[in-house]
């Protein structure tokens, strides 16, 4: 166990280090930098002035030097400055992170709340009309583009309530915030709930075929007892994995949803920063996302071992 943990931890660091090199190089490969974009709108370009700004931002230095500068800063909790606002990147990102985190937690809550029970029902009622309906709904959850779903919700609310549930100013109290976030969270959580439902269903069906379930039935256990206390407990194992992975991957859906609902979170900010070639923001954000993903994977791995005593580490 101990050596396994150390090995896993080392691999996590290696992954993050690799990610930092890749993202850094990819950003520098982008056509045009912030200075080009600034001068694009000006029309006339004075090469001297351009070179001066590039120098000021440190873009004229060799790429390896820029890279080590960034990593050195990261090791000292210094994320650099945003090229666009010229504020420290940490100050730009700080207030936006909780917004995205809240949305992600609500979306995940929504998807577990709907995904797990509906998956169980679908499995227990296998091949009935209800099962088919639920399966079609879950499949459509994987098929609807989240931005379209979001646009439809906006259109519907304008048509019915004559009001748009988008972010205008920071909500004043918790209730307002919950109300405001519930619709985008549902729009982005629909996909995850569909995934969780499908996995719960197939995992449940897998377990229901096992011998010990037949034994339980033979002993006269009621249908409910078989389904919920014998089967569900074991069927839930693979579902924990997908919930963990979805938690980290929700950020993909949030990029779109935050854009449509005009929510000032980090996911939308990432797109803005990419379009403006705001390297310090993009590279730090990408590293943050990667850090979350590898950490969640690590935690899921450990939970899996704790929940299923058959799994041993390090062999």
């Amino acid at each position: 166990m101990g050596t396994y943990l150390i090995k896993r931890f080392f691999l996590m660091l290696l992954t993050l280090l690799g990610m930092s090199v890749i993202i850094f190089v990819m950003l520098r490969l982008m056509p045009g930098n912030i200075v080009d974009i600034m001068f694009d709108s000006a029309g006339f370009v004075d090469p001297l002035e351009k070179a001066e700004i590039e120098k000021e931002l440190g873009l004229d230095r060799p790429i390896p030097v820029q890279y080590f500068d960034w990593i050195w800063g990261l090791m000292h909790w210094d994320l650099g400055f945003s090229y666009v606002s010229e504020m420290p990147a940490a100050e730009e990102l700080g207030p936006r992170i909780p917004i995205t985190a809240k949305l992600a937690i609500m979306a995940l809550g929504f998807s577990v709340l709907f995904g797990v029970p509906l998956g169980v029902i679908s499995a227990v009622k296998q091949d009935t009309a209800l099962d088919y309906t639920l399966r079609v709904i879950s499949l459509s959850g994987l098929s609807l583009p989240s931005f379209w779903l979001a646009l439809l919700i906006l259109m519907f609310s304008v048509a019915v309530f004559n009001d748009i549930p988008i972010y205008m100013e920071p909500p004043e109290n918790l209730l307002d915030e919950l109300l405001l976030f519930s619709i985008p969270a549902a729009a982005v959580g629909f996909r995850s709930s569909a995934l969780i439902m499908r996995l719960t269903r197939s995992s449940m069906l897998e377990v229901l075929r096992q011998d010990y379930i037949r034994t339980a039935r033979a002993k006269g256990a009621s249908e409910n007892s078989v389904n919920y206390s014998h089967a569900l407990k074991n069927a839930f194992l693979p579902v924990t994995t997908i919930i963990g992975i979805e938690a980290a991957f929700l950020i993909g859906g949030l990029i779109i949803t935050e854009t449509v609902f005009n929510i000032p979170g980090v996911a939308h900010f990432l797109v803005e920063a990419i379009l403006m070639r705001d390297y310090p923001i993009v590279q730090n954000l990408v590293m943050l996302i990667a850090l979350i993903v590898v950490t969640v994977n690590f935690i899921v791995d450990l939970t899996y071992g704790a929940l299923d005593p058959r799994i041993k580490y390090g062999s």
Binding site: M30, L139, L151, L154, G252
Partner: protein, 297 residues
């Protein structure tokens, strides 16, 4: 114990199949959702191939007098802000979705197969390095990786395909690698080696064909994601550029702005994306049931 309906069980198992038509009916009865998926996919491909025949309008022809025109006999799905016929744009947009979806799935699939096969077959340092690279790629959500790649490559049809295909590589490589690891110890692989075949030939002639079933299942699922990612990238302005009519971009351009006066600008392109992805997902599910019976749900 309930009574067994013998006739029903026989039918289910495929008895009494005498003609090709019987076989089709039998398939349709066993996999009703698959038939829906196949029909949608055929219609989608047909729409892309015969786009010019289906729609008489030019998808890029602007017409100021038709700006935001409501659906009518002439423009059955209405027209956008620049007066371009929405029906023509959606029909022609299927080409972009199909080309980007299929090419990026294939490209990502081929790279993934080569990496996975070599990893599982050669093992050693090659495998070690490839596994670490795949770890790195999997540390970012599909859309985030595609987004950064699309931005660093610059907007064009080819670059969008490349930006979507690379994030699809890790899963293919993982699936092929794990099948290869299991297969390389099989007696028939050993026999091929003993017969004096080169390692490369053994890998491609004997190991690869046995990984095809899970690959096809994965490929169909990835086709759906590729189409969705293309739509998302184009929606964010980082995908297929003008003048190509992309479904995703149709929704971003000014759809949200004009949603109130021209809801057809929002409804139809999104519906097109949803139906096509739904069709590939139905097909993918059915293929998994057929080709991979262990995972049958």
């Amino acid at each position: 114990m309930t009574d067994v309906d013998h006739q029903l069980e026989l039918d289910k198992a495929g008895a009494n199949i005498n003609s090709r038509w019987d076989a089709v009916l039998h398939f349709a009865k066993n996999y009703p959702l698959a038939v829906g998926g196949i029909i949608i996919v055929i219609m989608f491909v047909g729409m892309a191939i015969f786009a010019d025949v289906i729609s008489s309008h030019d998808p890029v022809q602007t017409n100021a007098s038709l700006s935001l025109a409501a659906p009518s006999a002439n423009n059955i799905l209405g027209a956008d802000m620049m007066g371009r016929d929405m029906f023509a744009r959606i029909v022609h947009g299927s080409r972009i979705s199909l080309v980007v979806g299929v090419s990026s799935t294939l490209l990502g699939g081929i790279i993934g197969v080569v990496i996975g096969l070599m990893s599982g077959y050669l093992l050693g340092w090659f495998d070690l390095i490839m596994q670490r690279i795949i770890d790195i790629m999997q540390a970012l959500p599909l859309l985030v990786l595609a987004l950064v790649m699309a931005a660093s490559l610059g907007p064009s049809l080819e670059n969008t395909i490349l930006a979507i295909s690379i994030p699809l590589v890790p899963r293919v490589a993982r699936v092929v690698r794990s099948s290869t690891l299991a297969l390389r110890e099989m007696p028939f692989v050993e026999a091929a080696r003993a017969a004096g075949m080169t390692e490369l030939r053994v890998a491609f002639r004997h190991v690869l064909p046995n990984t095809l079933a899970p690959l096809i299942v994965l490929g169909t699922a990835q086709l759906g994601s590729a189409i969705l990612v293309e739509a998302s990238l184009s929606f964010l302005g980082l995908g297929v550029p003008e003048p190509h009519p992309s479904w995703g971009r149709m929704l971003s351009e000014n759809a949200a702005e004009y949603a109130r006066v021209a809801p057809w600008l929002v409804i139809f392109p999104g519906l097109a994306i949803s139906i096509v992805v739904f069709g590939t997902n139905l097909l993918g599910d059915a293929l998994r049931d057929i080709l991979d019976p262990r995972q049958r749900t």
